[in-house]
Amino acid sequence: MISKLFAAIMLAALPLTAAAADNRPEVIVAVNELARGLEPAENTGNVDVRITYSIFDTLIRRDFSVQGGGPKSLKPGLAESWTRISPSELEVRLRRGVRFHDGSLFTADDVLFTFSPERLTGGKTAAIPSGAAYFGHLKEVRKIDPYTVRFVTSQPDPVLEQRLAAYTSWIVSSAQWQKYRSEDPNWMRNALREIRWNPVGTGPLKFKDWRKDQYMAFTANDDYFGGKPAFKSVTFREVPELATRVAGIASGEFDIIVDVTPDQIATLKRYKDVDVRSTVLENSHIVVFNMSAPVFKDKRLRQAMSLAIDRKKLRDSLWQGLNYTPNGYQLPTFGALYDAKRPGYVYDPRRARELVKASGYDGRAISYRVIPNYYLNGMEAAQIMQEMWKAVGINVKLDLVDSFKQVRSPGMEMHAWSTTYRIPDPAGAISIILGPKNNMQTTWKYFIAPEEFNKADEIVRTAATDKERLAAFRRMMDIIEDEMPMTFLYNALYSYGTKKKLAWQPAPLFYMDFRPDVFRVTQ
């Protein structure tokens, strides 16, 4: 009788202990907009990678907490280790025993499929045509054995390791795609319609369900190879209005909110259990000058426009002084390719005035095209700069337009733009935006590059040693700081509101990392 009673008590207590075992939080993240799709290479916008980053893994993972970046910030993801065979070959050994969310085993076949021409690298006929911008130079991925692959590029690529840790390198499940294979040559585009809303990855977030304009729900992948996640579930809720997101985190409905503007930081900090975590993005706001425009024929006027901008004043008044201006087209995370001593884009109104005079500028109004509300603080910055330019004798009128198509319609003299550092290396920034094959030189002709610039670019993209590359990169920066096809304002600040008990740090890209080594819960 007593033993029966004891058993009954034990049985009754079981659910309790089970519940106590999983007291991990159900995390609610209020976002301005949900991902537009969950295929990790197809949608790489801010609102997309924020979510896909923790559904999928890359072979190599970039550790954002490592200061100075470079190769030492790269650590194993789905790869166990990697070795350089030659300047254009990289051998990667894969982690064993990793399972996708659907239970299938991760092997070399998934890597081959992920980087296949029909999915990613084949250009406009590929399921994801934009993939060629990242991996168009990938000749093949060779399977050595089920857990070893070799990446071969058509030209030496000194930063292939960085590329494998960045945008569009997330590994997808070959088995999931093959389920949709058919005779139809367009089968992959058709498959995308299904796969986009049914992601199968290896990451800590396991897809549960979604409703357009409402939420995307994920449960913890407790078999994650990086350890058991610190949450029970993560739900992204779409709350477009910032005031509503702020009220929601203050009232305790949300655990994390995104897209907090600088002026809301002080409001949020007033709440005891809420913390604001900011990161300065690896994205620079810039002003582009059209070297082909008659008014900018003399480079001294372009130089004067850059010298007239008091960037500290802009940062202090628009970003509460919480961000920085990069010293040249580079970031400290470029590692060995960072030129720390470079002064970069300076403020010198006196010199600016001299240059304006010397350039023979006749005082006519120069058009500055801006898309209102496209960049945070973009309009405000334009208005402040208009006054700064006026102070050195340059007359700028703001032309508000609706789209980049209108920005680049005939008559373009200067416009507001931004540049993202896709990988922490000049090959992922200056080479992409200003290189000989890019629109700035080819289609739009805003940058008329000296021959020397394009030669240096070739070295930056393909040379094997850091020394050669750094010398060439410095030359490229010298040239653009003299020719001035663009000038830098600052890197944008991005802030989250978060419950204090959630220990995590935002990355300088739009990723939100829910892996157990980054996302923890403290009591």
Binding site: A133, R196, K212, S251, G252, S403
Partner: protein, 315 residues
């Protein structure tokens, strides 16, 4: 209801629909390249061109226009550019949320606006009237986003009684429905008041009073049905507004309805979805107006025989 009356109405409805679709098509095509917005600014020209071809956006505008019309005729509104699902599916997902919010708000505005208007009319120029009319002006002149945020601050942040946003339980419905309902309650109260004042002075109401009909019965049986005609007009507008009239409120409260869908589709230049929503909004508006015309005929037999409506054509 004669056939000619109905035929003219129907013809006008179709012409209106044609105009709406054409207008939307032209404006949206002129204002931005959907592929550029979809793929971002830093994609090479060849890829942009490939997508334009894929979606038929490289064809001449008249051809795109005809194709679109052909699709509508077959009941095919096309695919959303952003997620490649059928437009009809995308819209069908959003409609129930909007109807739930819209009808709740309509009930609130009726339940608040009509009695207040009657009370004000019966107490014309007294303190009660002033008070009610102040409330009415406040109700329809305060912007929805402002009232919405005030409610959130009060009930979510301060009192912590109601969830700030989203959809799920009945608690989620209260604040957006009240926000939306109060603004139309204000104008409804004003309309009720003026049309009640109008009929209260009519001879048949005075006759009823002279015959000794009790006051309550006089108001409910003699005055109200006659005062209802202008109200039906206003309600017709509200009904037409149900689908796309809650854009701001839906955004503030993250309510996943048609208004939100329209905002996100416009900013993404998702042409097919925008056109679908506009088409549906136009259909609701036109249907609501037709209904109003029919109801007029029912409550006021004079309109039927005249073959025209006193409310005018709102389409």
């Amino acid at each position: 209801m004669n056939l000619r009356f109905f035929g003219v109405k129907l013809f006008r409805a179709v012409v209106t629909l044609l105009l709406v679709v054409t207008f939307a098509f032209v404006i949206l095509r002129l204002s931005g390249d959907p592929v550029e917005i979809l793929l971002g600014d830093d994609v090479d020209q060849a890829t942009l061109q490939h997508y334009r071809e894929l979606y038929g956006l490289d064809r001449p505008l008249p051809e795109q226009y005809l194709r679109y019309f052909g699709g509508i005729a077959r009941g095919d509104l096309g695919f959303s550019l952003t997620d490649e699902r059928a437009v009809t599916t995308v819209i069908a997902e959003a409609v129930p949320a909007t109807l739930l919010l819209g009808f709740t708000a309509l009930l609130i505005s009726l339940a608040v606006g009509v009695p207040l208007g009657i009370i004000a009319a019966l107490n014309r120029n007294k303190i009660v009237d002033r008070f009610v009319m102040t409330f009415a002006v406040f109700g329809f002149s305060i912007p929805n986003f402002f009232l919405g945020i005030l409610l959130i601050l009060l009930f979510s942040l301060w009192l912590r009684w109601l969830p700030s946003s989203g959809m799920g339980t009945i608690w989620h419905l209260i604040m957006p429905a009240v926000t939306l309902g109060l603004s139309s309650a204000g104008s409804l109260a004003r309309f009720t008041r003026s049309s009640m004042l109008d009929v209260l002075n009519r001879s048949y109401v005075r006759t009823a009073a002279a015959k000794g009909v009790p006051r309550l019965r006089r108001i409910a049986w003699h005055a109200l049905p006659n005062a209802a005609i202008p109200l039906v007009t206003v309600l017709g507008f509200r009904l037409g507004d149900l689908i796309a009239g809650a854009i701001v409120t839906e955004t503030v409260f993250a309510w996943p309805g048609v208004g939100r869908l329209l905002v996100s589709a416009v900013s993404a230049r998702d042409l097919a979805v925008v056109q679908g929503v506009l088409l549906m909004t136009a259909v609701t508006m036109i249907t609501a107006n037709l209904l109003v015309d029919l109801i007029y005929g029912w409550i006021d037999p004079r309109i039927r025989t005249a073959g025209n409506s006193p409310g005018g054509d709102h389409a």
